[in-house]
């Protein structure tokens, strides 16, 4: 099942010739979403080079420039395109750095849930019996609680366990909290397709020639059940980023020394009443932009990979 891969160039050529690329070219929604997502990702990844100021460098802050409105306002300065916050930080730069943290936490959580979910789903579907029953019961229970609640609880337990956690640990707890709530979907999907694949002849053939179960799972079944997982993962990125933002907004997410989009919104909320709407609205807009574009891409991918819809 792991066909020898052609050279990289061959793979690229096949991709541009293939159905998925064709469907992408003919879906204006997907192109717009992809461009939007790409802008966000580039701004986030290259924040260190692209951002006009460094919001984490305390020495460069000037309190005289605090709470400036966006540049198009008569009171704004051209130097700060989207205005500044209460400490004189440039909002645009803070957004870029914040988006980087949001994306990082989101992607790490999705990757971890995928590993946990796919692993447990394969195990449940392939081995069956008691193990299957137990894993599926756990899934049922977790599905009956909203994910934000489970994430909050895991985060709360983590905080109670390590009350004086330093930054790296705080990030680990946060990522664990988000991924331990997200794996259920993967496990259920993978279990379903594994149950189907298990009956097929190539699995029986592999069994007959004495391939070990672990190897059959990894080398033969896994590649055949990954399709739906990719679609799930795309949409899950948006959910994970929003969950992270919500937790950070509640003040139990990323450490305050490395503000994510949610933290920026939290900080900005205090200034709504004194009229400084830009401190909280711009991070909100970016958050919605990222979530929306990723969701649209996920929807498109689901349709593009589903042969029945063509």
């Amino acid at each position: 099942m792991s066909a020898p891969l052609a050279s990289d160039a061959g793979v690229l050529a096949r991709f541009f010739d293939g159905d998925v690329w064709h469907s992408f070219k003919h879906s204006p929604m997907a192109i717009v979403a992809a461009v939007m997502a790409l802008i966000c990702v580039v701004c986030a990844v290259f924040a260190g080079w692209l951002a006009p100021h460094n919001p984490l460098d305390l020495a460069s802050l000037e309190l005289m420039d605090a709470r400036l409105p966006p540049a198009w306002d008569p009171e704004g300065k051209a130097k700060y395109l989207l205005g500044t916050d209460d400490q004189g930080r440039d909002i645009l730069s803070a957004l870029m750095y914040g988006a980087r943290i949001s994306l990082l936490v989101g992607l790490a959580s999705v990757a971890l849930s995928m590993v946990i979910g796919v692993g447990l789903g394969l195990l449940a579907g392939f081995v069956g019996g008691r193990i299957d029953g137990f894993i599926m019961r756990v899934c049922d229970v977790m599905l009956s609680f909203p994910s934000i609640l489970i994430a909050l609880l895991i985060d709360g337990v983590g905080r109670a366990m390590f009350p004086n956690a330093h930054d790296a640990l705080a990030f680990t707890v946060l990522i664990l909290a988000i991924s331990l709530t997200g794996w259920v979907q993967y496990a259920r999907t993978v279990r379903g397709s594994t149950l189907v694949e298990r009956q097929k002849e190539y699995v029986q053939a592999a069994r007959v020639i004495g391939v070990s179960p672990l190897r059959i799972m990894r080398r033969h079944v896994l590649p055949n059940v990954l399709g739906p997982v990719l679609v799930l993962a795309t949409i899950h990125i948006a959910t994970a980023i929003i969950t992270e933002a919500t937790l950070s907004f509640l003040g139990v997410g990323v450490p305050p020394t490395s503000p994510s989009l949610g933290t920026l919104i939290r900080i900005g909320q205090d200034f709504l009443f004194s009229g400084e709407w830009w401190i909280t609205i711009f991070p909100g807009v970016v958050l919605v932009m990222i979530a929306l574009s990723v969701n649209l891409l996920g929807d498109w991918l689901r349709d593009a990979l589903n042969p029945r819809l063509r």
Binding site: S144, D155, V157, V252, I265
Partner: protein, 327 residues
């Protein structure tokens, strides 16, 4: 049917015990309470005495049984941060959350169902397109952003409504409510609206798609052929048959509303259980966290149980199947 209920009850019990165990384990992580209470220079006898008083010298299983016994009576000890009994803290905050959740659920259902029916009946018209686009926003915007936007528009720019707190409340025995005073209602409006948007959008989309499905069926055509008025076809025949999935979603969303109340209460500084819990998480206030955990699990388990039982009440087919296949 009885066997089904018993099995359900047993599952619910297992879930509750698991949650209670997690809550119990929380206490094991916060370090030795004896040292915290007595300080560093207590004598060995004093320590031993306190250990015995707190029941910490008993075996693990017995301690857990003790914890469950107390939890059933609503006793979770004393809040580390506020120095008050957790049970009275929760009792004080519970009405605020219940009021917010109930009003949000009511808004969600009372607006969601009619709008869903409207969007299905007037499919393709401009207004129903508008409703559908709005519902998409309701599903995809994060809850706290909606709250902030509402505050910005109605409290900061228009200055129509207050944006934090409960305002004036009226006491009804142990219960407090803001529903009976104008000030309380004004305070309730924005948070309840924020909280209701997600379930409203979900119910709306569900009702619409179910209605479209049902309107295609033969018995609707037959009802029309019999010359029944539109209103009785739509609401007497069609809507009734869309209600089974709606009940499921509405029931599960009730749980979601209580969970998301944490976020809404933070945005609007609403003095409910969610705000209490989030402060407990920030300060690692274990007794409050444990109590909230058990209470919310109880609410969820109850809701799931009630939803399962409602199926039987609503869908006669299910009753028939169960009793013919059952024991």
């Amino acid at each position: 049917m009885l066997a089904f209920i018993l099995r359900r009850l047993f599952q619910a019990l297992i879930v509750m015990l698991t949650v209670a165990f997690i809550a119990f384990m929380l206490f094991q992580f916060v370090g030795d309470p004896v040292t915290n209470l007595l300080g560093q220079d207590a004598t060995a006898e004093q320590r031993q005495q306190l250990r015995a008083d707190l029941g910490l010298d008993q075996p693990f299983a017995l301690q857990f049984a003790h914890f469950v016994g107390n939890a059933v009576q609503g006793e979770f000890g004393i809040s580390l941060r506020q120095g008050r009994k957790v049970s009275s803290l929760i009792a004080e905050r519970f009405p605020a959350t219940l009021e917010l959740a109930a009003v949000a659920a009511a808004i969600g259902l009372l607006l969601g169902i009619p709008l869903g029916v409207y969007a299905a009946l007037r499919r393709g018209r401009f207004m129903s397109q508008l409703v559908m686009t709005g519902s998409l926003l309701g599903v995809s915007l994060p809850n706290f952003l909606i709250g902030i936007l509402l505050i910005l528009v109605f409290a900061v720019v228009l200055k129509w409504l207050p944006s934090f707190g409960r305002g004036e409340v009226v006491a009804l025995g142990p219960f407090t409510t803001g529903l009976l005073s104008v000030d309380g209602l004004r305070h309730l409006l924005l948070p309840a609206l924020t909280l209701s948007l997600f379930p409203m959008a979900l119910v709306l989309r569900l009702v619409r798609s179910e209605m479209l499905e049902v309107l295609r069926t033969d018995y609707i055509k037959f009802a029309r052929a019999r010359g029944l008025p539109d209103r009785s076809v739509y609401f007497g025949h069609a809507l009734k048959n869309t209600l089974v999935p709606v009940i499921t979603i509405a029931g599960l969303q009730l749980g979601g509303i209580i969970a998301f109340a944490i976020v809404t209460e933070t945005v609007f500084q609403w003095p409910g259980m969610g705000l209490l819990f989030i402060q407990a998480v920030q300060f690692a206030d274990i007794p409050v966290m444990a109590a909230y955990l058990c209470l919310i699990a109880l609410i969820f388990v109850t809701i799931n149980l009630v939803v399962d039982l409602l199926y039987f009440a609503v869908d006669p087919r299910l009753r028939l199947e169960r009793s013919s296949a059952g024991h």
